[in-house]
C-alpha cells in the first residue's frame, strides 16, 4: 500500500488537482482507484522522480483505448495519465510536420492537420486515443497500408525516463541519423521504458481523390488473394477483409491519391471482385471492430504472416474463430474467439507456427493472460529485452509486469 506521505509528495510533484480518486478501473483483474495526472511535462518529470524515490510503480495511460493490451500489471499502485499534457505545440504547414503533446487526442490533432491541408497518418481505433498512447502501443488502423506504421511517421520523441530525466531523441526534420534511433525503441514499448511527453510527427499530403468500395465474397482464400493483389495497386490506402463465422467475407477497399490514378485503380478493382460503392462509415466500422472484436470476455489475437502464408493461415482458423479481420497488404490477421470457445490459444499458436507467423494476444480475460505471455511464445530476443528494461527502468516502476516476458 502506498503511504499517505508518498501520495502527498506525488500530488505536490504532479501539480494542482493532479491526484484524483475514482471508481475502480480494472486493468485485467487489477483494480486501480487513484490516477495521477501531472499538469505539465515538467510536472511529469518531477512526478517520475518522486515515484522513483518513494518506490512506487505506476500503470501509464493515455486515452485508455489500448489499456487492455499487455500482460496483467504486477505491483503498480496508481495510474499515471498523460491526458493533461495535451495540445498541438507546433504545426509547420510548409514542411508537413507537427509536434504534439502526448495527451493530444488523434481526433483533435487530425482536425488541426486537416485545417492546414495535411493528413495525420495515424488512424488507430479508439475514440479517446492519444498521440502518446498510440505511439507507445504502435497502434494502427486500416489505413496503415497507405499511411505507413507509427514507426514510419515518428520523427522525434520527448520522453521522461523512470528516474525523472526528461530527454529527447530524433528531431523535427524528415531525415536524421544523429545519435541512436531511440524513436524506434520507444514506439511500441508500451510505456515500459519511459513516458512519452510529446512527439514530432510527419504529416502526409491530402489526397485529391478518395473512393471507398466494398464487395462480398463467398470464399475466404479467394478473398485473401484478391485482397493481397488489391493492396498492391498504387492508390490502395486501406484494404480490409472481415468475416463472421459462417457468413460471407466483406472486402472493403479505400483508394486515395491523384484523380487519374484512383480512376485507373478503380477500374482495375472491377476485374477482381464485384465491387460497389461503400457507405462512408464502412471503414470506421471496421476500425472499431478491430478494437472490440469479439466482444465481452472473448479473446483476440493478432497474427503476422508473409503474404503467401496468409491464405493458409486464415483457412486454418476460419472454422474456429468467431470473427476474422484481415489486412492482407500488411500480412495481419485478427482472430476473435468468443468467450464460449475454449482452445483459442492452442489453435492460434499451432496455426501460427505452421506458417511461421508471430502472434500477440491483444485482448483476453485476465485468467487467459495469466496462462501465457501475451507477446507470444517466441522469446529469441528476450535477453536483450530484459537488458533494455533493466537499463532504462532498473527498479521496474513503469508498467511493471506488462511487457514481454512479464517485465
Amino acid at each position: 500500500m502506498i503511504s499517505t506521505e508518498a501520495l502527498e509528495q506525488l500530488a505536490a510533484a504532479a501539480g494542482e488537482g493532479s491526484l484524483v480518486s475514482h471508481e475502480t478501473v480494472l486493468v485485467d483483474d487489477v483494480p486501480f482507484t487513484v490516477t495521477l495526472s501531472p499538469e505539465s511535462p515538467e510536472a511529469l518529470g518531477r512526478t517520475l522522480s518522486t515515484l522513483d524515490a518513494c518506490g512506487v510503480g505506476v500503470l501509464v495511460r493515455g486515452g485508455g483505448s489500448h489499456l487492455g493490451f499487455g500482460n496483467p500489471p504486477r505491483g503498480a499502485e496508481l495510474m499515471l495519465s498523460t491526458q493533461r499534457i495535451a495540445g498541438v505545440l507546433e504545426l509547420d504547414a510548409g514542411d508537413g510536420v507537427c509536434r504534439a503533446a502526448a495527451g493530444t487526442t488523434l481526433t483533435s490533432l487530425r482536425a488541426e492537420a486537416n485545417a492546414s491541408g495535411w493528413e495525420l497518418p495515424l488512424d488507430a481505433p479508439g475514440a479517446g486515443a492519444t498521440v502518446g498512447g498510440v505511439l507507445a502501443a504502435a497502434a494502427i488502423g486500416p489505413r496503415a497500408l497507405g499511411y505507413g506504421l507509427p514507426r514510419d511517421n515518428v520523427l522525434g520523441i520527448e520522453v521522461a525516463l523512470a528516474n525523472g530525466d526528461r530527454t529527447h531523441c530524433g528531431g523535427r526534420v524528415v531525415k536524421n541519423v544523429t545519435g541512436y534511433d531511440l524513436n524506434k525503441l520507444y514506439t511500441g514499448s508500451l510505456g515500459s521504458l519511459g513516458v512519452i511527453e510529446a512527439a514530432w510527427l510527419r504529416l502526409r499530403p491530402m489526397p485529391a481523390a478518395v473512393r471507398l468500395c466494398e464487395a462480398r465474397l463467398k470464399s475466404l482464400p479467394q478473398a485473401v488473394s484478391a485482397g493481397i493483389e488489391i493492396s498492391r495497386v498504387a492508390s490502395a490506402r486501406a484494404v480490409v477483409l472481415h468475416q463472421l463465422r459462417g457468413e460471407d467475407v466483406r472486402l472493403v477497399v479505400e483508394l486515395a491519391g491523384d484523380e487519374p490514378t484512383v480512376c485507373r485503380d478503380e477500374r482495375a478493382l472491377a476485374s477482381t471482385a464485384p465491387f460497389v460503392a461503400a457507405a462512408p462509415e464502412a471503414l470506421d466500422d471496421l476500425r472499431r471492430r478491430q478494437a472490440v472484436l469479439p466482444g465481452d470476455a472473448g479473446t483476440r489475437f493478432r497474427l503476422a504472416a508473409l503474404p503467401s502464408r496468409l491464405g493458409p493461415l486464415a483457412n486454418s482458423l476460419v472454422d474456429h474463430a468467431s470473427e476474422l479481420l484481415i489486412q492482407p497488404g500488411l500480412g495481419l490477421l485478427y482472430a476473435g474467439f468468443a468467450a464460449s470457445e475454449a482452445g483459442g490459444l492452442e489453435r492460434v499458436a499451432r496455426a501460427g507456427s505452421s506458417v511461421g507467423a508471430s502472434w500477440v494476444l491483444e485482448a483476453a480475460p485476465a485468467s487467459v493472460k495469466r496462462e501465457c505471455d501475451v507477446f507470444g511464445d517466441d522469446g529469441t530476443a528476450l535477453a536483450l529485452t530484459r537488458a533494455l528494461k533493466q537499463r532504462f527502468d532498473p527498479a521496474g516502476r513503469l508498467n511493471p509486469g506488462r511487457f514481454m516476458g512479464r517485465l
Binding site: G94, C169, G171, N176, P260, R264, D265, S308, A381, L388
Partner: protein, 479 residues
Amino acid sequence: MTPELLSELRAIVSAEGCRSAPDELLVYECDGLTLHSRLPEAVVLPRSREEVQAVVRACRKADMAFVPRGAGTGLSGGATPSGPAVVIECSRMNRILEVQAEDRYAVVQPGVVNVMLSQAVESLGLFYAPDPSSQLVCTIGGNIAENAGGPHTLKYGTTTNHVLALELVLPDGEVVMLGSPAGFAPGYDLVGTVVGSEGTLGIVTCAWVRLSPLPESIETLLAIFPDVVTACRTVGKIIESGLVPAALEIIDQRTIAAVEASVYAAGLPTDAGAILIIELDGPAVSLPPQVERIREMASSEGASRVERAADDDERKRFWKARKGAFGAMGRLAPDLYVHDAVVPRARMPEVLTRICEIGDRHGLILCNVFHAGDGNLHPNIAFDRRDPDELARVMQAGEEILRTCVEAGGVITGEHGIGSEKKEYIHLVFSEVDLEAMKRLRAAFDPDGVCNPGKLFPSTRFCAEANPKARGYDRVPFE
C-alpha cells in the same frame, strides 16, 4: 596485439582471411573520412556467422576491441578504429541467400554490394530502394549500420524502412535474430533500434530486406535556376503542394563546373546557377499532370528552363552527373570534406545563403550537391590537408555550418552518421541526459563497450581515467 590472438584469428578465418602486415593494414587506416586515421591491429575477413562469432569471442578473451567494416565508404569515420582494435571486414560474406519475389524480400549477407541486389532482382520487376550515391561499392551491412539514404529516400524512405529482420552477433559472441520477415515482431522494435547504430551494438551477419516493385513509369526533369536559393524555394513549393516526387536533388554552380570538367560530364549547362533534378515515378497516368505542375512551379520561381529526359539513356546521364559529383570534386583539390546536415525544408534558402557566406569568409572552395527534398544538405569543402592553416579554416567552417543548421531547427547528420567525426558536436543537438538515454541502450547490448568503441558519444576524459580497463572510451557508470 598478442601473437596468441593473431594466431587464433588466423586459425578461425584462415591465413588469407587475416591481414596484419603494416602495408596490408594501410588500406584500412581510414574510411571515406580521410581526416581521421588509425591502423587496426589486424583485419579479419570472416566467411560465415560462425567465424564472426569465433573472432568476437577470441577478441573478448584477449581484451581486444573490434570494429565491423563494410566497403569503407563511410564518411564519418565509423569503420576506422579509435583505439587498438581488430577490424572485422564483411566483404567475404557477400552472397544473396534467398529472393522471395512473391513476398517481396531478400535474404542477404552483410557484404553484398548495394547495387548488386537491385541488379539481381530487376528481372523479377523488383528493386532494393535505398540508393546511396556510393551504391556501386558500399555494402548492405554498412548501409544498415548508417541507416543510409540516397536520392530516392524522399519517396521510399531510408534503409530503416526496408529492413525486416536481422541476424546479429552480439558483443559477447552470442547470436540473436531480431524482427521477422513478416514484420510486426512482438516486443521492442529491435531491428529499428539496431539500424543506424553505427556498428556499435553488434555485427550484422544476415539481413532480411524488403524489395519494392519497379515503378511503372518514370519522368526525370532538370530545371535550371539562376542560383541555389531559387532552386530551394521551388523545392519548398513542391513539398508544400503535397506532391511527393521520388527525388529532388540540387547541384550548385561550382559542382556543375567540376562535373562537366570530369568523366561524369553530362552536358549540364555550366552557366546555370543551380540545377534541380526532379524525378517523379508511379502510374503512367499520374505523371503528365504532375510534370506540368512542377514546370509551372519551377518557372514561377525563376527557372530559365525545365528539360525532360527524353529516354532512359538521358535519365541515366542526369543521374550519373549527380552520383558522380563527389568524385568529380576530387579535381578541385587533393581532399574533400563532405558535410552532412539536415534543416527544415522551408529554411533551406536562408541556411544555404549563410553556408556560402561561411565558406567565403574562410576563403574556402565550398560546393553544394544535396538531397533537397529531405532538407539534407551536403556542403562539400575542397582543400589540401597538407596546408595546416587551410585545414584549420575547414574545421572552423565545418563547425559554423553545423551550428547554423542546428539553429535553424536542424540536426548534424542526415545519413552519414556521427562516427568519430561529429561526436564532439553531438552536444549541439542532445543534452547530457539525452545522451545518457542513448548510453543505456548501448549498455544493454554492449555493457563493456568493446564493439566499435570511441564512436557516437563525446569523449569524456572522466570515463577513460576513472576506468583504466575501459577500452570503450565512452564507458560510463549507468546507475
